[in-house]
């Protein structure tokens, strides 16, 4: 074999070994180990059903006074049941911040 042929063969063998090393490295390190992390990610605070709750129920929430509670019920009477929690934001006076404070206590029914 000539010098060039030997060099070419040596190069190809080196590339092959490199490739195999990369491949087995990936196999060893890239497996995922799924584990169940049993964690109460959702705490059961929701007690108030927004479509059947009364003005009194709403006034009990932090940051909601009787006037705002009445507006919620009025809105519901006029436009029908709430389909999602976010719809509460449409009630005048119940903006983003106030909504965020109370949303964990609410549930759509």
């Amino acid at each position: 074999m000539t010098k060039q042929e030997k060099a070419a063969i040596f190069f190809l063998i080196a590339m092959l070994i490199l490739g195999l090393v990369v491949k087995y490295y990936k196999i060893k390190t890239c497996r995922i180990n799924p584990k169940i992390d049993v964690q109460k990610i959702i705490e059961e605070k929701q007690t108030i059903k927004i479509n059947t709750a009364t003005v009194q129920d709403f006034s009990g929430l932090p940051g909601i006074g009787p006037a705002l509670a009445q507006r919620i019920v009025d809105y519901r009477n006029e436009f029908g049941s709430f389909l999602m929690l976010e719809d509460l934001k449409k009630v005048k006076g119940l903006g983003g911040k106030k909504y965020d404070k109370i949303k964990d206590y609410l549930v759509v029914d």
């Binding site: 190809l12 490739g19 992390d37 049993v38």
Partner: protein, 770 residues
């Protein structure tokens, strides 16, 4: 070149057809379809029609679901009429050609029970049935039935069910010679059925008459794994054996040589027609006849020239045959054997060997290895496997085959003409067939005899054959340096390894909602290499989604290990395919809902396999979070810790619902939940919100709660995994109102969602119109 003109022309022809296909040039010989070809009358959705046609294939009957008999055949159309015309006109259609639209073209007919099951080749029939495009599941890289039929020039299917009919108008309207040969075939099949036990009889029918329909799936698989399945497909070996036995017999009776050769040629042609005239047997027959006629006139013909002749004849009649797996395997095997077998024999020192057994074994080894070497890429491409055991298995199997064919031919010839002696000869044929079967079983059980792998791509195939070609040149031309062979092999190995590394090196989450008909099978591939599977599709009579769709799909994605399999609920169309997955892949964890399907034996098998393989098994319920998927986090939203009971479908309502959060995107997989669970989940609306949703229960309506549920998810893309357009209208309306873009496996085939950190893309396998 000049020594083998026919072979050279054949090679040029192959290359020409291939190039025409690559550059989308219509072939000169392409099947140009006239305006009245039936495919122009075939609508997207099935339509009820009356059809006047002639049967042009040997009808095959098999048992089907629900105790029906399914009969399939190909028919050449003559006239068609929509069945909106009232039934009383049916008889007049037959006699009055003005009432029909004259059509032409081949179709496949599938009939369930409602026909005269004594249908035969050549019958002119009137069918009332449903005309439609062939149904196929579309998954990338997985066998597509519609394309397979298109290569046979068939683009439409007529299904005949309850309320439909097939009546025979007249007989013998096709080729009489073929009809006669097929009649003989039926007599022979009946003979085998009568005198031989079931398994041995099925194998003998396959080996001698080319009918594999009766062979059990498990046994057929063993033949495929050991690479001996070619003996069941009437290939060169069978033709050669039949010819040799025939010639030997008549030469022993001192018939003159040339006469025997010519008689044998005639017999082989009849035999080819009798066994169904598929491409490999046609190839072998043309070669054998050319060789024999040459010998009859005292000339020794060249194998490659005969092969070239066979190829030219086949391709001139049907250029698409070039892309048929049988064609490719058949021709490449012969070329490879002709090139390499003599050199391997030299290497093993066959010519210097005195001991007859060793000489025969070494020669067989040389031939077997030579044949195997040539078809490695083709088998990998079509069957997702490489089978080294094939080299060894073929040696005893082909040896025993000679005796099986000999005794089988004796049994059939005597049985046809002297019936009362048939039983005696059946014994030996059956016994030898039994030994053949046992041998194949032994070889198929040898561990590490075969490997499942991805379907080779263009570069891997090309560089393999390049290496093979250079080795071939090296063997015949001593002047060229051996270094080039070594370099070519190393180059191929490099391509192989590096393509694998490049193929999987991307930084995105790949969610594949596979097309498994009515059922779910979703593959999740995480960027650093993790793989999860949510549900494994159905496994029914002839279609196992796990084996036929998910396994090839995963193998082609170069996946061998599945980190997590989720079975959302114990319904057949969700866990049916999981047995095949557990068998074919290393599954590292199994998650299900803890619900059991007490009625189904298969579910018990699933649980048993999980236990036997000692796979960690977990039950999921609401509030569980699954970590370890790298950037992806999974939250389990259903079932609740107290299972639903008393709902319209408890099993469905207790499906696992998974919320996958990846980067800034989220995907909600809803299993098969219905109204009760959906309503319950509204309490956790904060967690329902997702960009993507896999719609529950194959697109059936969720009732009143649907609109609220979809609003709370407020996503952009909705995916439905179902097998028909039977998606509830209410759901479609709700999806539209809530501004979802909808993808369905029925219309789009498999749907691939590629999710990167800040963007995503969706790929479908087929367009909106099927």
């Amino acid at each position: 070149m000049s020594k083998r003109p026919l072979f050279f022309i054949f090679m040029v022809l192959c290359f020409g057809i291939w190039m025409c296909n690559v550059f989308h040039v219509p072939f000169l010989f392409e099947n140009v379809h006239p305006k009245n070809h039936i495919k122009n009358f075939t609508p997207q959705e099935p339509v009820s029609i009356y059809l006047n046609a002639v049967i042009v294939s040997d009808p095959v009957s098999q048992p089907a679901l629900y105790n029906r008999i399914k009969t399939t055949f190909t028919a050449d159309c003559r006239g068609v009429l929509p069945a909106s015309v009232r039934g009383q006109y049916a008889p007049t259609i037959v006699n009055n050609s003005r009432l029909q639209f004259s059509v032409c073209g081949l179709i496949n007919v599938v009939s369930f029970d409602s026909c005269d099951t004594s249908l035969k080749y050549g019958d002119n029939i009137l069918i009332k049935g449903s005309l439609s495009r062939p149904f196929t599941l579309s998954n990338p890289g997985v066998f597509n039935y519609r394309i397979y039929l298109a290569y046979q020039d068939i683009y439409s299917v007529v299904t005949v069910k309850k309320g439909d009919f097939i009546t025979v108008i007249s007989k013998n309207k096709a080729n009489n010679f073929i009809g006669w040969a097929l009649n003989i075939r039926h007599v022979l099949i009946a003979l085998i059925k009568k005198y031989l036990p079931a398994t041995e009889g099925d194998i003998l029918t396959g080996v001698l008459l080319g009918d594999r329909s009766g062979i059990k799936e498990d046994l057929n698989d063993r033949f495929i794994k050991t690479g001996t399945v070619h003996i069941l497909a009437i290939s060169g070996w069978n033709v050669g054996l039949v010819a040799s036995i025939f010639i030997l017999f008549f030469r022993l009776l001192y018939f003159p040589r040339s006469l025997v050769y010519l008689m044998a040629s005639l017999l082989l042609i009849i035999y080819a027609v009798l066994t169904g005239a598929n491409i490999p047997v046609v190839r072998a027959t043309i070669m054998a006849v050319a060789l024999l006629i040459g010998l009859a006139f005292g000339k020794k013909a060249d194998i490659l020239n005969c092969l070239g002749l066979g190829g030219i004849i086949i391709l001139l009649k049907n250029p698409s045959a070039l892309f048929d797996a049988g064609f490719q395997l058949s021709f490449v095997t012969v070329v490879s054997m002709v090139i390499f077998a003599p050199k391997f024999e030299e290497f093993f020192g066959v010519n210097n060997e005195q001991f007859w057994l060793k000489k025969y074994t070494l020669r067989s080894l040389a031939v077997s290895f030579a044949a195997w070497l040539g078809i490695v890429p083709i088998v990998a491409y079509y069957f997702n496997m490489v089978s080294p055991i094939c080299i060894l298995a073929n040696i005893p199997v082909v040896f025993i085959l000679s005796f099986v064919v000999a005794s089988g031919l004796v049994f059939l010839s005597i049985g046809m003409f002297v019936p009362f002696l048939a039983g005696i000869f059946a014994e030996s044929a059956g016994f030898l067939a039994g030994i053949l079967i046992k041998t194949v079983i032994i070889f198929s059980d040898i561990p590490y005899g075969f490997f499942r792998m991805h379907s080779w791509n263009f570069f891997e195939i090309v560089f393999f054959y390049l290496a093979l070609g250079i080795i071939g040149i090296n063997l015949y031309n001593k002047k060229i340096s051996k270094a080039y062979s070594v370099m070519a092999v190393l180059l191929f190995l490099n391509i192989f390894v590096w393509m694998g590394i490049i193929a999987n090196a991307n930084n995105e989450l790949r969610v594949s909602i596979l097309d498994v008909g009515h059922g779910d099978a979703i593959v999740l591939e995480f960027p650093k290499g993790g793989v999860a599977l949510i549900d494994a599709g159905p496994a029914q009579y002839k279609m196992d989604a796990g084996e036929d769709i998910i396994t090839p799909y995963l193998l082609n994605r170069r996946i061998n290990i599945i980190d997590a399999v989720f079975i959302t609920h114990p319904d057949d169309d969700h866990y049916g395919g999981v047995m095949a997955i557990l068998k074919n892949f290393k599954v590292r964890n199994v998650f299900d809902s803890g619900d059991i399907n007490a009625e189904s034996k298969n579910f018990l098998i699933y649980q048993k396999i999980v236990k036997e393989k000692q796979i960690p098994h977990y039950k999921l319920k609401r509030f569980d979070r699954i970590i370890g998927f790298g950037a992806g986090q999974m939250f389990v939203l259903n079932p609740p810790s107290k299972y639903f009971s008393g709902t319209s479908s408890d099993r469905n309502n207790n499906s696992i619902v998974i919320k996958l959060a990846y980067g800034k995107f989220s995907f909600l997989f809803c299993g098969d939940i219905k109204e009760a669970a959906a309503k319950d989940l509204l309490a956790y609306s904060r967690h329902l919100k997702s960009d993507f949703i896999k719609i529950p229960h194959h697109g059936t309506s969720m009732g009143m709660i649907e609109d609220a549920f979809l609003k709370n998810v407020s996503g952009h893309e909705a995916f439905i995994s179902a097998d028909s357009d039977d998606i509830s209208c209410d759901l479609t309306k709700d999806l539209l109102q809530n501004r979802y873009k909808v993808y369905e496996t029925y219309r789009h085939g498999a749907i691939i969602v590629l999710i990167k950190n800040n963007s995503y893309a969706i790929e479908v396998t087929k367009g909106i119109n099927k």
